[in-house]
């Protein structure tokens, strides 16, 4: 049970983020919602790699008995690499969205998502 709590947190974070994106009207809050979804997915990836009692996945610095006796007792490194990459991408997306919001506020004078639409043509 105790090991399922991170997964529950993942689902909860994704739903909180979706709630913010779907029902909040402020653009900045929508962006925050996307950020929360992203954190949930990252938490999911990190949780996947967790092993009970595992050591950090640095091969050369692991205690020698761990390497010899139980090579599987390291935390998986691949999900951590995936999470890092995903965080980097998230930073780029966040910066892009925030700069777009700045321009949008300049042109529309509002941050209400219902009022930000192009002309009907």
């Amino acid at each position: 049970m105790i090991y399922n709590i991170p997964f529950i947190a993942v689902v909860a974070m994704i739903f909180i983020g979706l709630f913010a994106v779907l029902f909040k009207r402020n653009l900045v809050k929508i962006v925050i919602g996307i950020s929360i979804i992203e954190s949930g997915v990252n938490l999911f990836l990190i949780t996947l790699g967790y092993r009970e009692g595992g050591v950090a996945p640095i091969f050369t610095s692991a205690p020698s008995e761990v390497v010899k006796n139980a090579p599987g007792s390291m935390v998986l490194p691949v999900p951590q690499a995936l999470t890092l990459t995903s965080i980097v991408i998230g930073v780029a997306v966040l910066a892009l969205m925030l700069s777009l919001i700045m321009h949008i506020y300049e042109h529309y004078g509002t941050l209400d998502v219902r009022k930000i639409r192009g002309p009907e043509e």
Binding site: F59, T60, S61, P63, V67, L84, A95, L98, S99, E106
Partner: protein, 158 residues
């Protein structure tokens, strides 16, 4: 537009070198300990952003040109892809780790279970970390600099 109080500026002056050194350490030891180009670059860039907050973006823009930072960003990316191309030229495969074992630098293959003290390992990874670090420092700093400048312009207009 306006700068923050003298206390804040002095504090950031004191703390700035330490942040710089820590960030550069994270970049340099990326192949030995957790961390690497992006993390260290983010630390260094946040140190620069601290200065930006304390001294206002207009002051920073007087000291640093955005176009020069863009050049640095391009150079970082070029360094990364260039190392990959060197792998193709010297090692025979794209992204080949051509320095390990028979290179001039970073050529040692450490024993399993040894300490983390040997800096001279891991082949091209330190070079790539360095390139990514340069790119991230320039990129993140440019983003926040331009954003801060744009918002300060708006305040100034009003």
């Amino acid at each position: 537009m306006s700068q923050m109080s003298k206390i804040v500026r002095t504090q950031s002056n004191i703390i700035f070198p330490f942040i710089m050194i820590f960030g550069l350490y994270v970049i340099a030891h990326g192949h030995l300990t957790p961390g690497g180009g992006f993390q260290g670059g983010a630390v260094v860039a946040s140190g620069c952003i601290m200065l930006l907050v304390a001294y206002s973006s207009a002051w920073v823009l007087e000291k640093i040109k955005v176009s020069r930072l863009s050049v640095f960003e391009s150079l970082g990316a070029l360094g990364f892809i260039g190392v990959a191309f060197f792998g193709l030229i010297f090692g025979g495969w794209f992204f080949n780790n051509f320095l390990v074992r028979n290179g001039i630098l970073f050529n040692v293959v450490p024993e399993t279970g040894s300490t983390l003290s040997n800096f001279n390992t891991a082949g091209v990874l330190p070079l790539m970390n360095f390139a990514v670090g340069v790119k991230v420092i320039a990129g993140l700093f440019v983003i926040v600099l331009v954003m801060g400048y744009a918002s300060s312009l708006k305040e100034w207009k009003q």
